[in-house]
């Protein structure tokens, strides 16, 4: 720092500026203490849950069990991704379970019964989801119908539609040799590809971090420093490599999970780096302010509902692939709760305006770890429901407490 002229953003001498790794750590601790918990609760929760279940039954941590867990996580994870979109606006969609069930039924009927090509059937199912989302958005915008009522009505109506199109047999088996079922049950990335994909995020972080620092320096703005970027990239790469190595001891990384993570990354980009994403956070934080700054609030709402139902529909297709069937039971039971719980546990606020696409990924891992661990302990589904319910309650309590703490520390 031989530059004597203060950078554009460092003119105010009253502010402490955190630089380097120590600064980044200090800033992080400050944030957590003021209630800006971010991903911390879910990371701690995941470690705790894994430790407890491993002690109770060592099979939990076996590579192949984790591979299965990832297979199971993809479908609910996709649904949770859609839930993140509506939660960001402070809305909710309670019909995601029914929507996923309906979509699996549509896939089954179009593909197996009507003999349409598989891609067309999937497109049809997702389109149905988009239509339902459009309807919810319309009800919310036109009639100011609270989304929890509209989607509660949808929960019932969509379930009815699912039963109707499945007909009296009530269940359609998907052919085991078909690409869809293989995708849902067998297909694993080649080891070399998994390792490459594990290294890529770190490399990208390094590249974009260096770019940002260079551009900020050119614009006479300060940066946290390259050391922070390197540390982050190194930590991420090591974590991903260890994870892939461990999974490769078993069957490997499921394609299904890979596709889910791809969707997470795309949504993350859209939410953080595009005008649409900025508008989503603005509408969730203060809809009136967003409206006055010229954002089309109704269109943003519509987009969120459409995305949510479409993701739910795609999740339904994934679930059908996983189970190799489209049945009356698809999407019922705990699917709704699990998907919403995943988003909330991952750190997306129920009150709108806060959250991230990653919360769907982390949250669904927690939910699936609990469900998987309890199954390994041979607990009945009655106990599993109760425990999952308690975990959701705890997540919401943490969310509320953190919100209160943020308010008292002058953070949103």
């Amino acid at each position: 720092m031989t530059d004597t002229r203060p950078t554009l953003d460092r003119a105010d001498t009253r502010v402490r500026h955190d630089e380097g790794i120590a600064g980044a750590v200090r800033a992080f601790i400050d944030r957590v203490r003021s209630g800006d918990l971010g991903m911390l609760p879910v990371a701690v929760g995941l470690l705790l849950i894994s430790a407890v279940f491993t002690v109770l039954n060592p099979v939990f941590l076996a590579p192949n069990n984790l591979v299965n867990l990832l297979f199971d996580a993809a479908a609910v994870g996709l649904i949770a991704l859609g839930v993140v979109c509506v939660l960001l606006l402070g809305e909710i969609d309670l019909s995601i379970g029914s929507m996923s069930g309906l979509s699996s039924a549509i896939t089954g009927v179009l593909w197996v019964q009507s003999g349409l090509p598989l891609p067309l059937a999937i497109v049809g199912a997702v389109l149905a989801g988009a239509l339902v989302g459009l309807l919810y958005g319309f009800l919310r915008n036109r009639f100011e119908m609270p989304s929890f009522v509209a989607t509660l009505a949808g929960l019932l109506a969509l379930l009815g539609l699912q039963l109707y199109i499945l007909g009296p047999t009530g269940s359609i088996n998907l052919p085991f040799t078909s690409p869809l079922v293989r995708f849902g049950q067998l297909l694993i990335m080649p080891a070399w590809l998994s390792y490459i994909l594990a290294v890529l995020p770190g490399a990208f972080l390094l590249y974009s971090g260096a770019q940002t620092i260079r551009r900020r320096a050119e614009a006479n703005l300060s940066s946290a420093g390259m050391s922070v970027v390197i540390a982050k990239a190194a930590l991420l790469t090591i974590a991903l490599l260890v994870a892939v190595y461990y999974l490769e001891l078993g069957r490997g990384v499921p394609w299904m999970f890979g596709v889910f993570v791809l969707f997470v990354m795309v949504l993350n980009y859209a939410l953080t780096r595009t005008q649409w994403g900025r508008s989503m956070f603005a509408v969730g934080g203060n809809a009136e302010a967003a409206r006055r700054s010229g954002i089309n609030v109704q269109r943003i709402r519509l987009s969120a509902f459409v995305l949510c139902s479409s993701f739910a529909a795609l999740g339904g297709v994934f679930a059908a692939a996983r189970l190799a069937s489209a049945s009356q039971q698809a999407g019922t039971g705990d699917v709704n709760l699990n998907a919403i719980a995943a988003a909330v546990i991952g750190g997306t606020s129920l009150f709108g305006g806060r959250g991230s696409a990653w919360s769907a990924l982390l949250g669904v891992l927690v939910i699936m770890a609990i469900s998987n661990g309890l199954t390994l302990l041979n607990l009945s589904s009655s106990l599993r429901y109760m425990i999952t319910g308690a975990v959701l309650a705890i997540a919401v309590i943490v969310d509320s407490l953190a919100r209160r703490s943020r308010a008292s520390h002058g953070r949103a």
Binding site: L8, D12, L221, R278, F281, E288, G353, R411
Partner: protein, 266 residues
């Protein structure tokens, strides 16, 4: 970004309202309002609580639509049917409640709805422009990467004003901009208003603070119970102004002044 399509010279008529009325059910909030705004002038809008100032601002900002009357903007008759349209045509508003998103940081709030590069937000360029703008206003914002929730009232006001200037509007409307500000910041805002006026923008200033109004306003338009009640200049006497605002030469302000005078004489 398209605020200044045609260049204006000082004194050109930008906006003119004729017979504008607004009714909320049985309540007539505005009745037959006439108002002209020229380039390079500061028009203060004063009046008691409930005089219709805020309603008039909301009509011009596209938040409310007038029940009747015409609005001419740049010589053409227009409808400001959405806030976005008013903004696009070059009428920027700083509302009394500021309308900031507390969960977003300063940069995001400044550029809300007008982000640089919609498909790949250019954070560096936005941050540079944010700092440049804030330094022009001599604003003391600790960090533009903090959420608005962590800023003080005065700092929020500054951010709100800075945001309205971002699009280089023809008219900027300020609803009670100095109500929450300290002495130095009030002076800064008044300086800023003059700077904006000197750049050829029209400024509509709404304030209860007569001192601030007299300091910067070229014309003072008085509203009373939703109607025009006289136009004054900074040279007009305080009594005349108060009389127009309260609707009587004999009012609580004059009575109080008379009583004080009596007490002093005794």
């Amino acid at each position: 970004m398209n605020g200044t399509g045609e260049s204006l010279t000082k004194g050109d008529l930008i906006l003119s309202l004729r017979g504008v009325s607004k009714q909320f059910g049985a309540v007539t909030a505005l009745a037959d309002i006439e108002l002209d705004i020229h380039a390079g002038e500061v028009v203060a809008l004063v009046g008691d609580n409930g005089a219709g100032k805020s309603t008039l601002v909301k009509v011009l900002a596209g938040v409310h639509q007038p029940t009747s009357g015409t609005i001419q903007y740049m010589g053409r008759e227009v409808n400001f049917d959405t806030p976005g349209k008013a903004l696009e045509m070059g009428i920027a508003t700083v509302f009394q409640d500021l309308a900031l998103c507390e969960n977003l940081d300063v940069v995001a709030n400044l550029f809300l709805g007008h982000e640089v590069n919609p498909w790949r937000l250019d954070e560096v360029q936005m941050e540079v422009r944010a700092w440049t703008l804030l330094q022009e206003l001599a604003a003391r914002i600790p960090s533009v990467r903090e959420p608005i929730a962590s800023l003080s009232g005065g700092q929020r006001q500054t951010v709100a004003i800075a945001r309205s200037l971002l699009l280089d509007p023809k008219i900027i409307m300020l609803d009670e901009p100095t109500a929450a500000l300290g002495v130095a910041q009030t002076a800064e805002v008044l300086n800023l208003i003059e700077r904006v006026r000197d750049r050829g923008h029209g400024v509509i200033l709404i304030s209860h603070n007569m001192e601030d109004v007299r300091a910067v306003a070229d014309r003072i338009v008085v509203l009373r119970l939703g109607r025009n009640n006289g136009v004054f200049t900074a040279e007009s006497s305080h009594q005349d102004l108060v009389a127009a605002i309260t609707g009587a030469t004999e009012n609580s302000v004059s009575r109080r002044a008379a009583r004080k005078l009596e007490e002093a004489e005794r």
